[in-house]
Amino acid sequence: MEIPYTVKERKDTGLYNAKLGIWLFLASEVMLFGALFSAYILLRVGATPGTWPHGLLNVPLGTLNTIVLIVSSVTVVMAWASLKMNQFGKWRMYQAATLVCALIFLVIKSFEYHDKLTHYEVVTKEGDKHHVYDGHLVQEDKDKVVLHPSAHRLYTARAIALGFGPEPAGAHAPADHGAKGHAEKEALVTIQRSTIEHMENYGPKHHPYLAIYFTLTGLHALHVIGGALVMAFFFGPGAKMWKTDPERFTNRIEISGLFWHFVDLVWIFLFPVLYLL
């Protein structure tokens, strides 16, 4: 006996095996991302009021990435439809377009990561006076660090403890910090190495928001990479199956498309949650 329903669907369930398998797998993926989303909610609800960041991420870039993923889901479904209509040439085109979209997404994402990883919070201590600087690293050498102050910053527990927390609404900003925050937005800040007490970039360690941001988007990016690898395989060596078993090959494209749609759908939720809200 051989395993039935590998290609044709079973009558009473209306599914072939792999389609059921991928849906079950996606159900578990829902739980995986669901748990991370619930972690996001708990961290956000538990944060010190006023310290959860808004507008830290680049919305135009995020929107562009969202559009890239939406386009890729269109090309994925069209690729499958082309095979269903027996148009192998069109399939190749659409499949290639999907792979290009995946690549663009990852490139944009890595630019965003780079932006966060070169963003520093520097705590200095001169005498017993502390100061907190915040901005992108421009230059770094043995005795000094040059930062380009950025419009958006995070309020870490360390900065809050030193009195550099969020300004209470309506109140006057602390003269020291407020002046720097606005007047020197464009100017560069040079900090002597010898005065630096603590220097940390906006990596996952810096703040729970960044931790969940990197974890969620990193896990999502891993899914994008995984899906892209599988689709690249179907585009390359895997495409031989079209000649021997076209129906099974079409099913494979559908399966990878279902996974890809799920990954895109996760992003549709990630984007507003991390960028907009």
């Binding site: 006996m1 039935p4 329903y5 599914l15 578990s28 944060a47 310290t51 360690k205 729970p208 990197f214």
Partner: protein, 610 residues
Amino acid sequence: MQYSHDTHNHTHEAHDHEEMGFWTKYVFSTDHKWIGIQYGITSLLFLLFGFVLMGLMRWQLAYPGTPIPVFGPILEKMLGSAAAGGVMSADLYNSFGAMHGTIMVFLGIVPLAFAAFGNYVVPLQIGAPDMTFPRLNMASYWLYFLGGVVMVISFFLPGGAAQSGWTSYSPLATIIPTQGQTWWLLGMVLLINSSLLGAVNFLATIIQLRAPGMTWMRLPFFVWAQFVTAFLLLLAFPPLEAAGVMQLMDKLFGCSFFLPTGLIISGKVADVSGGGSPLLWQHLFWFLAHPEVYVLILPAMGIVSEILCNNIRKPIWGYKSLVYSLFAIGFLSFIVWAHHMYMTGMGTAISTFFQTTTLIISIPSVIILTVFFITLWGGSIRFNTQMLFTLAFLVMFGIGGLTGLPLGFNFVDLFLHDSYYVIAHFHYIVAPGTIFALFAGVYYWFPKATGRYMCDFWGRVHFWCSLVFMNVVFFPMFTQGIAGMSRRMYDGGVNYSQAANKGLLGALPDSAIYSNVIISIGAWMLLLAQIPFIFNFFWSMRNGRKVESDNPWDATTLEWQTPTPPPHGNFAVEPTVYRGPYEYSVPGAVRDFIPQNEIDNKGKAKAPKS
């Protein structure tokens, strides 16, 4: 699929089978039966390993601070200063405790109950040629194996294996200075992925590959149990994976998912961003770990129902009640998790909610047990080894279940939480409960897998010794717990005893301390009592009494209608199912059982055998 060509295909495949090399046949096999056996043997070895860890810990509990005889010097040689002078250090005790739990649950019982028995039996019982995704099945086993290797290696790391309990509560688990915890998390991620693949495979197999005529209500109860179990694994494990990934981020990248603001470690404010939530870990952990309890017990119930009906020669009383109860348990098990967290200060309203759902979930569990007991009524019982284990399961599981009810009330839990009472309660469910059912399953299906019986005499020795010593081990723990003995204590409670605290109200009575010795001796005896089983298992593979037929127990389900042992592809001809799973002692039938694939009751199987 054209079944008319099956006979031809079968011979063709058999030919292929012979041509397969050693590696593809025995190591990287995709045959569900062989993968089941791989899972079975690996997980039995892990069970033994986990038990040995506990055997060593029991010395420390019974005779705190004294060198462990014989094994102490070996431990010192292997693990160095953690066992200096052959004495188990507190760190070593902690890591053995954490790894005992992890190994027993994730590397022992779940792989044995779900993956091993499920792999071997489910496709046979539903009349399928194999699992739906044989290669995923193989990947699942090897991920499990890799996870096991990672866990075992972690013992030899600097600082030793994970030390903060099998629950790995953060912040302790995050800040504890051992690499073992990181390896534990990596191992868990591997194990979780393994069981996800397994769960997808089981569900797809049961939904897609049922033979013609095998409708849902004709499924043997064992298949139903595995079906619900697979759903629990599929949906409950990913949150733990998420939690594991977050704790890994905490450990490797210094994040603060589970570390609160202002965390102080050994008198210094920790260099972390803070802002995390320790409760988050507990929620995510128990969201898995409570359904996990049912993952441990449901396959055991499935095995019990098969063996029960087979040995009392009558149908199960209330098959549908069983199935619906399973579904009720499966659903409710997702909304009871926080009853493990009454003491965390999450609030009385939430506690009350979880107390209510917890008590509701006991109803379907009691229904299942009641159905089994009523099924016994008026049966003519065959007392073979597997039946003895099954009957013991009913009683032992009953004790475990009933002692769990008080723990469900949060006002009682205030006193019993984290005490030996809790240990006794869940060990009664899992050790003499699930493990007895698993032993029963081994004795029951052994003839199908090997073509030989296991020795009945040594089986009985194994059973009676195990039954007696299981109770010697776990029953005194109830009294210890009620006396106030806390779990995870390195010295067995000596520091809190009346002897050490003269006149202190509420100090542990001498009887509780003395029980440690009795329990420890019981545990070592229990370890010895497994020798007949191990010997019997391996000896009977080659030298056991040969079976007289493909259906030595006169059973009705489809796995007994295959050749023994079943060849690659299982059935010579695809079976067609005509009746329910437990048609024993049907009035007017020639024999006292009618196999599921028999069209009439004249005693002739429709499908020719082999």
